[in-house]
């Protein structure tokens, strides 16, 4: 997995609440059996007209945000379906960090499997970062996972919380399956016990 350590980049503001996974990547693009290539269809129905032309006032189509690497979003980002195509599309576009007051559970977990850092902050701090993001390409934020800090373009520092295990996995780009397989003996012990206690399972 891609590591996430420290990132300095442009942040795009998307204040809309309840941005769901159907908005992030509409189902017509779920028919691929690959993990890559979804970036061009990120936010497809908000980003393009039916004829494929760009909708000029959509944030990621604006010249100053085309290379955004951070997204500052409204409440409950990533609600809806479990499709990992949503974080695949976000990562493929080049966004590596999403900031919001809250994330839907499955989307939140999916981010960590794909080198994306989702940061949860209180409303006032998201508002502050949203304002900073609205300044455009000159306003570059720094997200430092090790220090658990976001530094705004004005030098203001905002601390954030992150689960210690998930943090370590992102910092080192660790593969979950490899780690779990190291604990396989615990799983076998559990299975032997269950074969006795709950044999119908």
């Amino acid at each position: 997995m891609e590591k996430f350590q420290k990132l300095t980049g442009i942040a795009a503001p998307m204040p809309l609440v309840n941005i769901d996974t159907d908005m992030i990547i509409p189902k017509v693009f779920l028919k691929s059996i690959a993990r890559t290539g979804f970036g061009k269809n990120l936010f497809d129905e908000m980003r393009y007209n039916r004829d494929g032309s760009e909708i000029a006032d959509f944030v990621l189509n604006k010249p100053q945000y085309r290379n955004a690497e951070i997204l500052v979003a409204g409440d409950n980002f990533g609600c809806g379906s479990s499709r990992e195509h949503a974080p695949w599309a976000i990562a493929d576009f080049g966004i590596k960090c999403v900031v919001s007051t809250s994330f839907a559970d499955i989307f939140f977990n999916n981010c960590f499997k794909n080198g994306i850092l989702p940061v949860v902050l209180p409303q006032e701090q998201v508002d502050l970062l949203m304002k900073d993001a609205e300044k455009g390409a000159n306003a570059r934020m720094t997200v430092d996972l090790e220090a658990q800090e976001i530094t705004t373009s004005d030098g203001e520092v905002i601390k954030f919380e992150v689960d210690s295990f998930k943090k370590q996995c992102l910092l080192e780009g660790l593969d979950d399956i490899g780690q779990t397989l190291q604990k396989q003996s615990a799983v076998h012990t559990y299975e032997d016990k269950m074969a006795q206690e709950r044999p119908w399972v």
Partner: protein
């Protein structure tokens, strides 16, 4: 020992390993698999030279892409991309040796309807699937939730998930429901109350007299939409209704094993005095038949209401409501019962079971749907379809003017040919009214099966209580 919730008990019974920071390896009893979220996971196994850890606990069925029209064995009915996904599942299921219900099997259907129907889903189990509506299985008192494709691969390879425990939330529905009010109205009313983020970080246990009174079908409808309220999972403690549903199913335990299982299942309830981190209580008598007006499942109002004004909301919801109302082509103050409908979709993992179809038949028997109305009924499985045929429901539907389809997810998410066209307005028994969910620029109003049936007859959103 301190009192435990139902969630605590199921969780504790499945921890195979716990690290110092509380990160657990949770053992997974049943892994359900469909064609959209699994191909990359199987490919990952293949690339790493790994196998499926417990193929006997893994059940695969294609549902999202499959056409629901007759003659669908003909591959030309699917787009090439859909066909590739279905064929990939076919190949992966056979190569890795998991249980499999192909399109040609009468037991094929929506994964969350097939699992319970075949007795794969049992009380006290952990059940996962690369699909958010896995919450459905919580109706059995099973801890069931959706996972992403990386986690699908993790479960295939290890039969575990890396998890931290969620908080406990209780949703109690007291008393009795009034006539015309269904499980769908309960689950929508709860989301209307808590919002789509109200359950984030929690596992919900639904309880109270109105929940106890529901059939298993109704309980599945309630738990199905726990995810729409943001919860990781929804649970209902197993009871006699549960045991009666499970008993005799193909993969349910038999004989002495049944007795042993029953003994354990009877310990699966929340202890007196157990702690809940959040409690929501609704009076069953206060719940009315509801409908969604916007593009989030929290945009719920009683059918007697009017389209709200965006200014009535606060914060980010003002802009979201403005956008929703524009997308939906509505006017603030408009009566919900004045909204005209072009299409009715009855089906999905929320409302594609036999009880749902009986409710529809009761409303439409001997009547005709409105002229020009497109109305389809899509059973949740081949067996639901067969039962509806046997009970004479299918004839009632055909005579009323409904299309009677084959099993699949269909227009719930429109990955197959069943889609809304631009601006088309649908009363749907499914679970999501998101922008574009049922087709590009399509407009969705979520309702119960009886309300969908009523809308098909009148051509507009209708209070079912006016027809009963």
């Amino acid at each position: 020992m301190s009192p435990k919730t139902l969630y605590d008990k199921i969780w504790d019974a499945h921890v195979a390993h716990e690290a110092e920071d509380g990160t657990c390896l949770l053992y997974i009893d049943r892994h359900l698999v469909h064609e959209v979220t699994s191909p990359q996971a199987f490919e990952g196994l293949r690339l790493a030279g790994r196998t499926v850890h417990a193929p006997d606990k893994t059940i695969a069925v294609p549902d999202h892409n499959v056409p629901t029209t007759e003659g669908r064995d003909d591959p030309s009915q699917m787009t090439p991309e859909s066909r590739i996904q279905v064929e990939a599942l076919d190949k992966n299921a056979r190569e890795f040796g998991v249980h499999y219900y192909p399109v040609s099997d009468v037991r094929q259907g929506i994964v969350h309807i097939v699992g319970p129907e075949q007795g794969w889903t049992l009380p006290g189990m952990t059940v996962v699937c690369g699909d958010s509506h896995t919450a459905t299985h919580g109706a059995f008192g099973a801890l069931a939730h959706g996972i992403g494709t990386s986690e699908v691969e993790h479960v295939l390879a290890t039969q575990t998930l890396i998890q931290k425990k969620s908080l406990n939330m209780k949703v109690e529905i007291t008393g009795k429901l009034n006539p015309g009010v269904t499980a769908k109205d309960i689950t929508l009313a709860v989301i209307g109350e808590t919002g789509t983020g109200g359950g984030t970080g929690y596992v919900i246990e639904y309880c109270g007299e109105a929940i106890r009174d529901l059939s298993m079908e109704g309980r599945m409808t309630v738990c199905n939409m726990a995810i729409e309220g943001g919860a990781r999972a929804g649970l209902i403690a197993p009871d006699e209704t549960t045991y009666a549903y499970v008993n005799g199913r193909p993969h349910a335990p038999k004989g002495a094993q049944w007795e042993a299982a029953l003994n354990w299942w009877k310990t699966l309830y929340t202890d007196e005095g157990a702690h809940f981190d959040k409690v929501v209580t609704l009076r069953g008598e206060d719940i009315q038949p509801v409908v969604t007006w916007g593009t989030s499942p929290e945009d719920v109002l009683p059918i007697t209401g009017v389209v709200p004004n965006p200014e009535d909301f606060e914060g980010g919801k003002v802009e979201a409501a403005r956008r929703s109302i524009e997308y939906m082509g509505l006017t603030p103050g408009q009566k919900l019962t004045d909204i005209e409908i072009d299409t009715v979709f009855i089906g999905s993992c929320t409302n594609g079971r036999i009880e749902d179809f009986r409710a529809v038949a009761e409303v439409v028997k001997g009547k005709k749907i409105k002229d020009g109305m497109r109305a389809m009924i899509v059973p949740g499985s081949g067996l639901v379809r067969a039962q509806a045929e046997e009970e004479g429901l299918a004839d009632i539907f055909r005579e009323a003017g409904f299309e009677w389809r084959l099993a699949g997810c269909s227009m719930c998410l429109a990955m197959n040919p069943d889609q809304l066209s631009e601006g088309e307005r649908c009363a749907a028994t499914s679970n999501r009214n998101f922008e574009g969910r049922q087709g590009y620029k399509g407009r969705t109003h979520l309702v119960s099966p009886a309300m969908a049936a009523a809308a098909a007859l009148t051509g507009r959103l209708t209070d079912i209580r006016d027809l009963i």
